[in-house]
């Protein structure tokens, strides 16, 4: 979708703040195959799956996949598009989840959609604060400083009882999900809710990364000094990236808590989760919207499929601990293999596959199809 604009070095004058993006306009007029594919995917996800899916499919696979994909999308803005490394994603998820919990608890008159927006804004505000070090630090140093967010946020939620409504154990159960009087507490309802949120946010992000601001972020990533030289407001851009990214990750946290687990506890948002989100982005493909979804699919679905396969084939022979360990080894090896095959992630791998298949089809067509066919296919 957007890779077109980002994979090539951005010409300085194209990134001027007030220029309309020509590619974006073109994309609007003539729907590309990608847009058609996305439309088809959405039709299946909204129309078909709720009719045929099982509770397991929704609650154990699709809903967590959606929440993590959204978190990946958020981090991708920061890391993939703007080039700022962060290890605090789980903390921003926690902020979103706890903010939404407290808003729905303390201001029950607010509609839940407003809760989500406000929760996202709270996460964005926290993200801004922890984004401040990015003004002076880069790369690994920045990554380490974002660890502070990770530990500080978890500590605060553990320490201050107010956030968890003074629940003695610190675990809170969220109220049942309902939007505009519509109860969505079944698995399908929660899935559809998550899907809608993810679709809307993805659409907004898509427009954003294709806008002058998006290209300015890419310029920042590719060469900070150059970006500064051509007059981009580097500091403001960095903070903007942190805020937008934290907003989206915060919304992902709301989904995680309200649509998926329906409980909130600080330990659920630990450093492991931050790494998981970072891996989603790296494995899926930096600076690509698709990458977040592909990465999340790999991280969520693949271990489950592998576990299922292992259990079916070898369940009688080994206990679950041995199976689990061997799955980890297999998963690790496969990730290494993936990244060797395509260091730019699954998204690029998919692109390559697609080009190869398309190329084959064209070649095949030019041999077999009548003359007019070969003209059309290009």
């Amino acid at each position: 979708m957007t890779d077109l604009a980002l994979d090539k070095p951005v010409p300085p004058n194209a990134a001027g703040p007030n220029r309309t993006a020509p590619t974006a306009r073109r994309g609007m007029v003539r729907p590309s195959p990608t847009a058609l594919g996305v439309g088809l995917l959405l039709a299946v996800a909204f129309g078909l799956l709720p009719l045929v899916g099982s509770e397991y499919l929704f609650d154990a696979i699709l809903t967590p996949f959606l929440a993590l994909a959204l978190a990946g999308l958020g981090l991708n803005i920061l890391t993939g598009y703007a080039g700022q490394v962060s290890l605090g994603s789980a903390a921003f998820m926690a902020v979103g989840a706890y903010a939404a919990f407290n808003l729905s608890l303390r201001l029950p008159e607010l509609p839940f959609v407003v809760d989500i927006l406000l929760a996202g804004l709270v996460a964005a505000a926290v993200g801004l604060v922890f984004g401040l070090p990015s003004l002076r630090l880069r790369g690994f140093y920045l990554a380490v400083s974002t660890l502070a967010a990770q530990f500080f946020v978890q500590w605060v939620f553990n320490k201050v009882g107010w956030f968890s409504n003074n629940s003695p154990s610190g675990i809170v159960t969220v109220p049942p999900l309902s939007v505009a009087g519509l109860a969505l507490d079944g698995s399908v309802g929660r899935y559809l809710f998550g899907l809608s949120v993810v679709s809307v946010v993805t659409l907004v992000v898509w427009r954003l990364v294709d806008s002058p601001t998006g290209r300015a972020l890419a310029a920042l990533r590719d060469h900070e000094t150059a970006a500064r030289v051509i007059g981009l407001p580097v500091l403001r851009l960095k903070l903007l990236a942190f805020a937008v990214s934290s907003f989206i990750i915060g919304v992902a946290g709301v989904l995680w808590a309200f649509a998926y687990l329906r409980t909130v506890e600080p330990a659920g948002f630990n450093l492991d989760r931050s790494f998981q989100i970072l891996f989603i982005v790296i494995i899926g493909g930096l600076a690509s919207l698709r990458g977040a979804f592909l990465g999340a699919a790999l991280i969520v679905v693949f271990p489950l499929a592998l576990a299922r396969l292992g259990e079916t084939l070898l369940g009688g022979l080994f206990d679950s601990g041995v199976l689990e360990m061997s799955q980890r080894i297999v998963l690790g090896l496969l990730i290494i293999a993936f990244l060797i095959a395509e260091p730019a992630g699954l998204s690029a791998l998919l692109d390559r596959l697609w080009h190869r298949i398309a190329g084959r089809l064209t070649a095949l067509c030019s041999r077999l199809c009548p003359r007019s066919g070969s003209n059309r296919s290009v």
């Binding site: 507490d185 409980t263 659920g268 299922r308 679950s320």
Partner: protein
Amino acid sequence: MSRPHTLALSAKAALFGALLAGASLLPAAAHADEQYFPLQSYRVGPYAAGGTGFFGGFIDYLNLINTRDGGVNGVKLTWDECETQYEVERGVECYKRQKSKTGVAAWNPLSVGIAYAMIDDIARDKVPLITVNHGRTDSTDGRVFKHVFPLLLNPYSESSGIVNYIAAREGGLDKLKGKKIAVLYHGSPYGKETIPIYQLLAEKYGFTAEQIEVPHPGNEQQSQWLSIRRSKPDYVVLRGWGVMNPVALKTAQKVGFPADRIIGNVWSNSEEDVIPAGDAAKGYTAITTQASGADYPVLQEIVKTVYGAGKGNLDDKKRVGSVYHNLGIVNGILNVEAVRIAQEKFGKRTLTGDEVRWGFEHLRLDPKRVEALGAKGLFHSINVTVANHEGEGRVTFQQWDGAKWKVVSDWIAPDWALLRPIIEKSSLAYAAQHGITVRDPAAEDASN
């Protein structure tokens, strides 16, 4: 690549996909008269010692019932394991996966976090959720939490039991006045759960409670123990988990705090907690609901029947009779007896989850019945009712002598009357928040 080749490839891919999908959607074959225990176990990860011991004991007991008795009144017990690593998301995934099988008797996740995440679904699916020795304290109130059972000991009872034991050592509850007790707790939901109750007990009995948090995972406690050395408490209550326990004992030795003044809670009471601490653990005392050791008749039968036939679940046979293994066995006894009691009412067949729930609500094992089960001395008794899902479990205290645990107290009863009002306050608030109608135990007992 020519066209047929591509087709063959995609056919292969489709077949593979179908296989995967088939594996996930395969309906459980209907079995006549089997009762199924889905086990969300953890054999890897930081808490594997607890997981392997507990689930090992549970499986060993189920195996014993199948091998020795041919099941419960002819109903065979089945189970399978799903690895959670003690992580909530994995536990939820396991729940969704395993619930599709028929004849689910009860869920035993052995994790507070996973149990919390299951509470909504459990109520909807009407299957009992057992959290032996842990769990959500207010789920003791069965009028609100119809399907949740923190059997034997909830965290509040545990705290009360420990304070009563300290009082007994000091010569009476009135002797607690002016004493100082430090509570060293794990910085997690589990560890924090008892902060309000220690405060309450301190006010009631006139001692000072100093509550000190150890951040997860607890492998660095120098500053906590230095502050303990400064404030010189009479006792330290250790509410640890995993690696935090041996580190606490070793650090205590370093700062010169005597081990026999450290009282461990129910998740700091295993061999895995003291052996790594070596000498520092000698004299350390901990609460338990089930004694350790393999001398009890039921243990002997497991060793003979199950391990004798090479079907034992523990890899290391030396762990037979360890604290976690015995907890698993006691948990097995409670689950199996609940099924047996429910069968007497509903018939000797595969029961539904809600029928087993009825069995748990009438799970009354007096010391005589416990003896008949070969578990005299292993645990005391249980008396679950509609209103009380904990079942008045007794506790005892055991002291580590450097090689094994030695029981050093009688069976002690926690102060349930003191705790009940706090539990009800919390459970009724939950009922109001979630629109749950509070059950009337008298009416339910009359209708049964």
